[in-house]
Amino acid sequence: MSGACDACLRRGYLIGLLSARIAGLTGRPGAPSELFALEDGALCEAVGGAGRQEGLAFLGRFEPRRARADLRHAGVAAICRHHEGYPKALEDLSDQPAVLFCRGRLELLASIDDQPAVTVVGTRDATPYAIDVAHDIGRGLGVAGITTISGMALGVDGAAHRGALGVRGATIAVLGGGPDVPYPRSHRDLHRQIGESGLIVAELPPGQRPYRWSFPARNRLMAALARMTVVVEAGEASGTLITADFAQALGRTLGAVPGRVSTGAARGSNRLLREGAAVVRDASDVLDELFGAGAATSLPIEIAEPEIDPLERRLLDAVESNLDIEAMSTFAGLPVSETRAALGQLETRGLVCRDGLFGWRRTRRSPGREVSGPRA
């Protein structure tokens, strides 16, 4: 399935070679978008300086055979724009990459034109709420057979990937560096998992570290690959908004998850909603947006409803409202010692879990809220 013609492969490695010099040009208007639209020779000229010499020399001495051997060695496949496996969706970009360096299930890339995929992105410093929602969307899409695309970053991105992986759903990570370079490093395990049961896509050749410019660059790929982009949580100046801008410019559907209006954490995503992005509460909202209301369903995830007495129900509501222990015990009408004991019991039943060092939160096994909880 893998395949790239010599010229495209050379182009991919040329960008890798010049990547450090491109970093210095990104302050200029239009870069790197305009740079990437240039032919090889013109690109070298545009980079100028020592990069020009180096680039031109490289163009003359590039050995496709050796590059292919290197790729095989790194466990990476190259797909060029002349290959049938290259997604047509990327042709909407004026600066589409000549070649994609991939690791994992290449069929996920090939099927993107027939079966729509969804990009789920958001801030790295996300609230626990956003992490939960991103995870749920990834999971819901996975159950519905839709590919979840994201950037493997901390916070929202990672949660979306994990949600999809958790139900053996399809997921694609688009990286800012080479496909074999886990970034951030704390996501090494996630990188390995996606490389095994999902797909990793990158514009830079293997071994390349990501640059400042390469994150917006990969954002354009994420936006172009998906039929719809969902912003789960983004602050005012979040890089996630770049992805949203690309999606809109490319005529893709844009959705956002409503966040709290009283804090800055979701200011960017809330603004998108204000400007007309589709409201996304869960995976079903995404499916409705893609296929029309009710046309596709995410299979409900079966959870055996645990037996819960009214007191426990009240405590669960209190936990959901994020009350402190004192307020919980008042709300439940119990002394604190019994409140602690009841929480301990709920924890052993898997209905609540610790949130960090102290504090509690509900788990997915715990049933949804029925009565209106306390307000505070």
Binding site: D125, T263, L323, D324, L357
Partner: protein
């Protein structure tokens, strides 16, 4: 004229113990000289000048002979001026001004003024205890510190103001008044200590404090600034049982060495070092090793406010003392052991913004980093975590006082008595010190009480080490309730209070 040899026992302070040192004085004919050997430091060598002046100013004779003073054992490093008196007495005995027989079983310790009066030394209580251990019956000290030394049993403590009196004492021509403060039971300090009744609300922290006091369990209080973490921690001493005589002696011994003892300690120490403290300041050390905060808090409370701000090496250094109840310090030739049995209480903000709960604006990354800092080196030494609520203005204004320290202390003392009654079987004075084998025998693992625990182990929310911790705390909760057997509710409550080292915020 044959040489005359005199030997006088005295003591050097090592850590919080006293090591017996024998001062030998050899006087023989020859060119007048005065040498001190036996690893003396500069202050000890200066003793020659003080001793000579003190003798002459006391109208005693300074022999014009060749005097050699040896401090034995020679390998013990001797520092400070506390050997002055022993050297002076040795010189007096060697020159026949006091009968050598009077020095039999009599130790002396003191610094001399040039006028011949005795100055107090540090560590009178360890010295007195050292005398008792060495079978010495009589100890001569400056009057200021005699009461402190008299806390030791079976020892005649002589408060002597100056060298002249000492000579009269050794000739049996004079006897000092026995020191005023004899050994007595520690006073009930509850009145002077801050009272729990001052604290409004915070029932979760109150409960956790009571459990911590009853079982000797370490506690982490989490709450926003201004919620009263420090206020509560200061009230812990008031609900702990008053120190027993042995504990009071232990506390006084540490105070005695650091120069702060004032009779037998009646209160448990409360130490709250600032978070900028170094590892050495916390656990002790230095070229001449001094006890650190953890030793100063021995048998009392060590309070670490703003736990997340402490330097990691300092907290790492605390691990061994918390585990063993003592600190081992090795400096050059010297290996010392300081006692360090403390009740650890720590406090922290819930998150970097300090607000916590519903109004917190910190993102997961920020919170994660903060928690990683908190959970690092110490969290697996913490038995209980409690939460403090920001106190609403209404609660502050209300007159409804909480329970007083005296009431809570009554329950704590009762719970401790239950633990003491079991101590023969368990080998631990408090539940916190129970060995893990003993824990398991206290809570039958097949009974209904252990069901929540088994469930927690199965669900993976509890590790083996956490399991033992929960059992110890559950035993204390049962002791507070006066229950013979640990019940299901006790275990569940212990589970509810346990500290969890947060892993990654698993999104699954």
């Amino acid at each position: 004229m044959p040489s005359v040899l005199a030997s006088v026992p005295t003591f050097a302070i090592e850590g919080v113990d006293a090591r017996e040192v024998t001062v030998e004085v050899d006087a023989r004919r020859g060119l007048p000289a005065f040498t001190v050997v036996g690893l003396p430091d500069a202050a000890v060598r200066e003793a020659r000048e003080r001793v000579r002046s003190a003798l002459l100013n006391s109208e005693l004779e300074f022999p014009l002979q060749r005097l050699t003073v040896n401090l034995a054992p020679a390998w013990v490093r001797k520092a400070g001026a506390s050997f002055d008196l022993a050297i002076a007495v040795g010189v007096l005995a060697a020159s026949g001004q006091v009968p050598a027989s009077a020095l039999d079983g009599c130790a002396v310790s003191g610094e001399l003024s040039l006028g011949g009066s005795l100055r107090p030394v540090r560590g009178a209580l360890p010295i007195a205890l050292g005398c008792r251990a060495a079978g010495i019956r009589r100890l001569v000290l400056a009057p200021e510190i005699a009461p402190e030394a008299s806390l030791a049993d079976d020892l005649e403590v002589c408060a002597v103001p100056d060298l002249r009196r000492l000579v009269e004492l050794l000739h049996d021509r004079w006897a000092p008044e026995p020191p005023a403060a004899r050994r007595r039971a520690p006073a009930q300090p509850a009145d002077q200590l801050p009272d729990l009744a001052d604290v409004r609300g915070q029932s979760d922290a109150r409960r956790a404090l009571e459990i911590a006091a009853a079982g000797g369990h370490s506690l982490l209080m989490v709450g926003p600034p201004g919620a009263g973490k420090t206020m509560l921690a200061r009230r812990l001493a008031g609900i702990l049982p008053p120190p027993t005589i042995e504990e009071a002696l232990d506390i006084t011994r540490v105070q005695s060495v650091t120069g702060g003892a004032d009779g037998l300690a009646s209160e448990r120490p409360f130490r709250a070092p600032h978070h900028t403290i170094s590892a050495q300041g916390l656990v002790g050390g230095g070229t001449r090793p001094r006890p650190g905060e953890v030793t100063l808090a021995h048998r009392g409370v060590l309070f670490l406010d703003e736990l997340a701000e402490f330097a990691r090496p300092a907290l790492e250094a605390l691990r061994q003392p918390l585990e063993r109840g003592s600190v081992d310090i090795v400096r050059g030739q010297v290996a010392l052991r300081f006692p360090a049995r403390v009740l650890l209480v720590a406090a922290a903000n819930p998150c970097p913004c300090g607000v916590g709960g519903q109004r917190c604006e910190c993102g997961v990354l920020t919170r994660e980093r903060y928690r990683a800092r908190l959970s690092g080196p110490l969290i697996d030494r913490i038995d209980l975590v409690c939460q403090l609520a920001p106190v609403p203005a209404l609660a502050l204004a209300s007159d409804a006082a909480g329970e007083s320290s005296t009431t809570v202390r009554t329950r704590v003392v009762a719970a401790r008595e239950r633990q003491a009654a079991r101590s023969d079987a368990t080998g631990a004075a408090s539940n916190a010190e129970l060995a893990s084998g003993a824990t398991r025998s206290l809570v039958p693992l097949d009974g209904p009480a252990a069901r929540p625990l088994a469930a927690a182990l199965d669900a993976g929310v509890l590790t083996g080490r956490g399991h033992d911790r929960v059992l110890r705390v559950a035993r204390t909760i049962a002791d507070l309730a006066g229950a013979e057997q640990v019940g299901r509710d006790h275990v569940a409550e212990a589970l509810g209070y346990r500290a969890v080292a947060p892993g990654r915020t698993a999104a699954a």
